[in-house]
Symmetry: C2
Subunit: 306 residues, 2 copies
Amino acid sequence: MNDIETRVDAVRRFSRFYTKRIGLLSDGFLGSEYSLTEARVIYELAQSEAQSPTGLASELELDPGYVSRVVKRFERRGLVAREPSPDDGRKVVLRLTALGRTAFDELATGSRAQIQQLLSSTDEEGQRRVIDAMQTVEGQLSGEPRRPIVTYRAHRPGDFGWIVERHGAIYHESHGWDATFEAMVAGIAKEFLERFDPAWERSWIAEVDGRRAGNIALVRRSKTVGQLRLLFVESWARGLGIGTRLVSECVGQARHVGYRKMVLFTVAGLDPARRLYEAEGFRLTEETPGHSWGKDHIAQTWELKL
Amino acid sequence: MNDIETRVDAVRRFSRFYTKRIGLLSDGFLGSEYSLTEARVIYELAQSEAQSPTGLASELELDPGYVSRVVKRFERRGLVAREPSPDDGRKVVLRLTALGRTAFDELATGSRAQIQQLLSSTDEEGQRRVIDAMQTVEGQLSGEPRRPIVTYRAHRPGDFGWIVERHGAIYHESHGWDATFEAMVAGIAKEFLERFDPAWERSWIAEVDGRRAGNIALVRRSKTVGQLRLLFVESWARGLGIGTRLVSECVGQARHVGYRKMVLFTVAGLDPARRLYEAEGFRLTEETPGHSWGKDHIAQTWELKL
DNA sequence: GGAAACTACTTGCCTGTAGCAAGCATGTGT
DNA sequence: ACACATGCTTGCTACAGGCAAGTAGTTTCC
């Protein structure tokens, strides 16, 4: 599923599947005494405390004339009550009566029963996956890109494994570094977790909408020197200021616990990271050519007086 | 989203969202000269080489009478050709004409364009996730549970990070082991990746439908002794024989490269794993009480003569 | 072999859904 | 005060699509 056409066809396939599956269900409405549109009207009225015919029409994308008739029908049946709007003589305020609410409850119960039947084709774990997947679809397609929520927290069990994984996979993919790089990161993770001292050290995991998106760690090298390690931001999370924030959190904490200096080790050529270091005031103090992780590198040391 | 009612409501919510989003699109059909049902008929005819009116009716769940009329309309317009069925005088065989196929192509193009527009509300990564999620939904709800496909492969960059993560997270959750356990696993990963010798060592990653589900590693301890390490199967992948297969692959490979003995170290109380070791012929040779990862344990050594 | 039952399709009839446009009443801007 | 916009209603209309009766073939069963 790489090119756009394949993806489009996949979506078409799903749409056909889902509308068919759901279409069967909504035929169930015919079983009740309301048409699908009538049911939608009732549903809409039940949702919003006070609704006007125009509101209904635009919300459900129906012709106002038709809505008018539906409402009239419902009124005759005692399902909705209408009153003139207090602030606008043209407007009408619609409200479900107790009877209308009963009708809604019946509809909702029926619909729930059918969805439940639909869900029953898989087990509880499967149902959770389905819902999770649906939320993914909705989240992605809901149009408004809904500004992502970025949060920062300390590491938890599993996080350092994740850091190792992402470093290993991404630097392999983008720079061709071999498994010894992943080994090195695993070594750093081991050390950090083993000797972790919360008084002097700290790590941050950045999450975007609850999904891990980046990290950084502050490690003690000596009483006066803190080391910045394992900075990393997922490519899909770029542009949210996560890198900047991680570096500044890290440096801020280093100041806070009383280090006099920060160091970090990296290699030449990782420009986005370089920019972050420079912006925070780090200075390149040493460069040594070398060979590691299956490639030639220029190892760099950066320092920052606090 | 724990109880069934919450889940049902989540699905209802999604259905409303999706049908609304897709409903807008299918209005596009009105833009064309075909109604939605007509479009479905054309689509169905395009899919199946030769179709009968009855077939259409049952496939699309329409009234045969109505189908008859739609077909007649299409015939007049030159979109479909009909011939009497050779083997049954009552039957009719319908086929799209070249003109009909053109109509289908136009419809498909239009529909694709609209789906593409729908998809364009997210980036490429998002689109992939959407499709993935849709396949999950369809897979789960399509009724036939579609047996999962299990595959086994050697490790790739990132895999050992994943192994560290899963060990760290899961043993913390289920047994309350602290971060030093994750540190230890990270140490094992580091060692393995650093000194990996394909002549004597190997790892297996089990994937279920392309998703990592478990792993095992064979590590050289000496010329004659191989060690089984890092056995792990995700809880959602239990019952597929993955654990058994991993252990037997590992032992088989150990035999193959010529070790005389296998060892493995574990702690008492991990019963599912224990059963796998026993089934493969491992014998418990040593038990030592101790304390690690924030808990008391009985460390165990298991051995197997090859 | 032939009546009875069944299947595939057609056609006439009818209802419900829903859009369009004209009309009326109330509001708003100049 | 006038024009114009907004909210709602109502008459007209088209179309979708179900139901049932009818025709022509096919299968079943005696």
